[in-house]
Symmetry: none
Subunit: 221 residues, 2 copies
DNA sequence: TGTGGTGTTTAAGGTTGCGTTAAGGCCGGC
DNA sequence: GCCGGCCTTAACGCAACCTTAAACACCACA
């Protein structure tokens, strides 16, 4: 399992590197944003741990460019600031998780494991594939067999989140959280409506419901 | 699983309560530190989520007194301030983990699950294992050998509590206590019905009966 | 500023299935 | 044998979910 740590604070890197390595990860370390931007093309990392406050090139910009260039590996961002907006920006730019400094080193391990598990078999391509369904992120459309199915924005966002977490139980509140940033209504059935739309387009069996618990994407298995 | 949320910000509590309950936790809610101090003696909570900035009595003081009085349940503290010193104080006072506001609600869930797993001595793996049975907390389903067994909410809650206390005698009233919050009836056979359902799904031998005493989870040993 | 088209959200009513209750049978202990 | 605790089953109510349509927001373009 190959990781890239992008962190300019030497003391922190010195702390994290042995910990990660002790737990069986092969870790490369860079301290500069510009280096990281290039390096991610040379090696196929399973996960990147990215500090947002970097010399050379800001972490958020690095991440944004990676995604523009079609690099889809999971990214865990570290932020020194405790700003809600920045985290949301990070998530929008394509990060998979975030951690606010300071943190317990063990906590980083937990997140790394969680993100890796989540991204298992999925997040590595521009065209996201899971359970017999493909998602074209540029055209915002899904593919079943050889036929393209056009999606609206909301449908696409929901399907993407499902496909990034295939076969996993996603509660309605989790879907709400991830599809609408923060200030969303509580007593609304938007999620149900869009799930209904996806089922119409892709077939009723692609999303299963677990009453009282949530939904899970199982595609056409 | 019985949780106590001590949080005076109503908006936050309104957000967290349904989330936690959606994920199968029975949650009691208090807004005052003095109430919390007393309440933790009356009920046997599996975990307490404790805001440090409280009216009545400061959260840190509450925690300190609990520990003095011999109460050892896991405590997850919430702090609005981004102060490192305060967190250290919290950990010193006997907290098991902390979370800085604002946070993603999902993050709280991750921590709650992690703390509960840690406090019951098992490793921090998303999949809880005991006596030849595995429990997938994300999918809320059990695994026997390689086959997945889907569980309803009530079944999942009960099985999780059994698996966190394997090979231990759990009285019917204790199960009632931990699976339902304060305002629930006591003279019913809900527990028996759900034990029956679990036995049907997992096999009759996984839960043994000690007549007049309670039940114990022995899995497939 | 209007107008139409597209996409999203709200609202209302119908449907489903989980959780609970209740009733009857069973079994173990005294 | 009898009683009390436990098991099993079926049925019911209600919350959760689905479905549909209409209201609404947004944008392009006149």
């Amino acid at each position: 399992m190959r990781l890239l740590l992008v962190e300019d604070t030497v003391a922190l890197a010195d702390q994290l590197l042995p910990l990660l390595r002790d737990h069986g990860y092969a870790v490369d370390w860079l301290a500069d944003g510009r280096d990281a931007l290039v390096r991610a093309h040379d090696d196929d990392f399973d996960l990147v741990i990215l500090d947002l406050g970097l010399p050379g090139l800001d972490g958020l910009e690095v991440l944004r460019r990676w995604r523009e260039q079609g690099l889809g590996m999971p990214v865990l961002i570290l932020t020194a600031r405790d700003s809600w907006a920045e985290r949301v920006d990070g998530l929008r730019a394509g990060a998979d998780d975030y951690l606010t400094k300071p943190f317990h080193p063990e906590e980083l391990l937990l997140r790394v494991q969680a993100v890796l598990r989540r991204s298992h078999g999925s997040a590595n391509h521009r065209r996201l594939q899971a359970c017999g369904v493909a998602l074209d992120e540029e055209r915002q459309s899904a593919w079943l067999d050889q036929t393209e199915i056009e999606l609206t924005g909301a449908e696409f966002r929901m399907l993407r989140y499902f496909m990034l977490n295939p076969r996993q139980l996603l509660s309605k509140s989790a879907l709400n959280e991830h599809l609408y940033d923060g200030e969303s209504e509580r007593d609304s059935n938007v999620v149900e409506v869009h799930i209904n739309r996806l089922r119409r387009k892709l077939g009723g069996e692609v999303i299963q419901t677990r009453r009282g618990q949530g939904y899970l994407f199982t595609g056409r298995d």
